[in-house]
Amino acid sequence: MDPALRAAATGMMAQQTRTQVIANNLANVNTPGFKRSRAQFEDLLYQTVQGTQVLGTSDAFTNPAIQVGRGTRLAAVQRMHMQGAIDQTGRNLDVAIEGDGFFQVQMNNGDVAYTRDGSFGISDQGLLVTSSGQGLMPPIRIPDDVSEITISATGIVSVRRGNDVEPSEVGRIELARFVNPSGMLALGQNLYAPTAASGIPSIGFPSEEGMGRLQQGSLEASNVEIVQEMVEMITAMRAYEINSKAIKTSDEMGQIANNLTR
């Protein structure tokens, strides 16, 4: 009875992990630039109790192998880098990426990290920074006598200073894209780090060579859909329940077997 108990237990653990992933998705339903994750499972190795049997002559039937599976395991938690909805905010330092690419920011330890969250601010030194204070790479300095900031779809940041009529360019935002964005490591604070699985970044300007377009005054909303997550949560809960029933049944069978000797 033990294998049945264990198989059912792996099923319960799988559903528990899945619920954790769903809970994190739901917690980030309002996080700009957040990408939902999905837990994926695969079956474990099979015990072949008896190999394929060929019974008698060629026109006789063949018995398939007898196999007993040993349960399930977590194969991957895959992040889904699908475009989130573009939310109009009207704030001139909110920038959404429509399409592929990440903003490059410098972390406190000097490493470059990548983010889709474009809710920028201006630091005390006049640099464009993310909402948690990491500076945009390459750095863009906004002069302090600015009356208007414009960020174009191709990433050109231009400002109008003082009483100027003509805007002047102060920098250009560059984006980075990866062969496999799902392979990046999530660092928290909406930041991602490249890994061997994601490949090395290719850098370019927005709207060029397949990079996304920038949209000023908008933010990319989280791509979590509440209804979808709720449905997933219900199925996870029911699957957890039914696996617990399998454990109970296996246990009762063990009890019955124990009653063979009086």
Binding site: M1, P3, A4, L5, A7, A8, T10, G11, A14, Q15, R18, R38, Q40, F41, E42, D43, L44, L45, Y46, T48, V49, T52, N63, P64, A65, I66, Q67, V68, G69, G71, T72, A75, A76, Q78, M80, M82, D100, R177, F178, V179, N180, G183, A196, A197, G199, S202, E209, G210, A236, A239, N243, K245, A246, T249, S250, I256, A257, N259, L260, R262
Partner: protein, 228 residues
Amino acid sequence: MTSAAASLAMLERRQQVLANNLANVNTAGFKRELVFAQLVGDAVSSTNTRVDLTEGTLSESSNPLDLAIEGEGFFVVNTANGERHVRGGSFRIDPEGRIVDHSGNPLMGEAGDVTIPPKGIGSITIDGTGLLSADGRQLGRLRVERIAAGASPQHEGGVRFLPDVSREAVPPSERRIKQGFIEESNVNPMDAMTSMLQVLHRFGAAQKTISTLDAVRGIAVNDLGKSV
């Protein structure tokens, strides 16, 4: 009494298989196992398992590398132990640009591995016949194979199957590949639940048979020939 004991063993095996099916109720591309009892002489002695290849529900995921096949057929992945069949699933791109499964086994195209150029990640399309293109450029056609109608492939774990000897390529015109869809597990929880209850009750009944037979023998041994 042997036949009752054999039936206990068979039911135990069936419960193990049911537990495995239930554990994989959310494993994409999983195919449930069926257990058959076989009558040998007058006792239920051997059990056969068979993979039930019934199609699971296709659910839309809109991830471009989630692939499913409507109807029969398997994709081919190249593992360290040789080619394996998979019903589809969630593929990803490895650093070399190949399309691989969870375990990193590359998906096979008609001309070997399929490699996506680094710039082409934005728009990968795979049409119903398995023709793969990135940014409008055709990169090759995926291999799709089928096995004979009555054949039962062997599970290998990791939702892969050992290809049956009857494998043959499916001509492009007969393929129905769905991009952005995932085939869910074909385990029906309701069905598995009722089977499990059935197993439990039969197990109890077989055990009762054994105890009754034991009691009868006990009477025969101890009470018969006792001086009155």
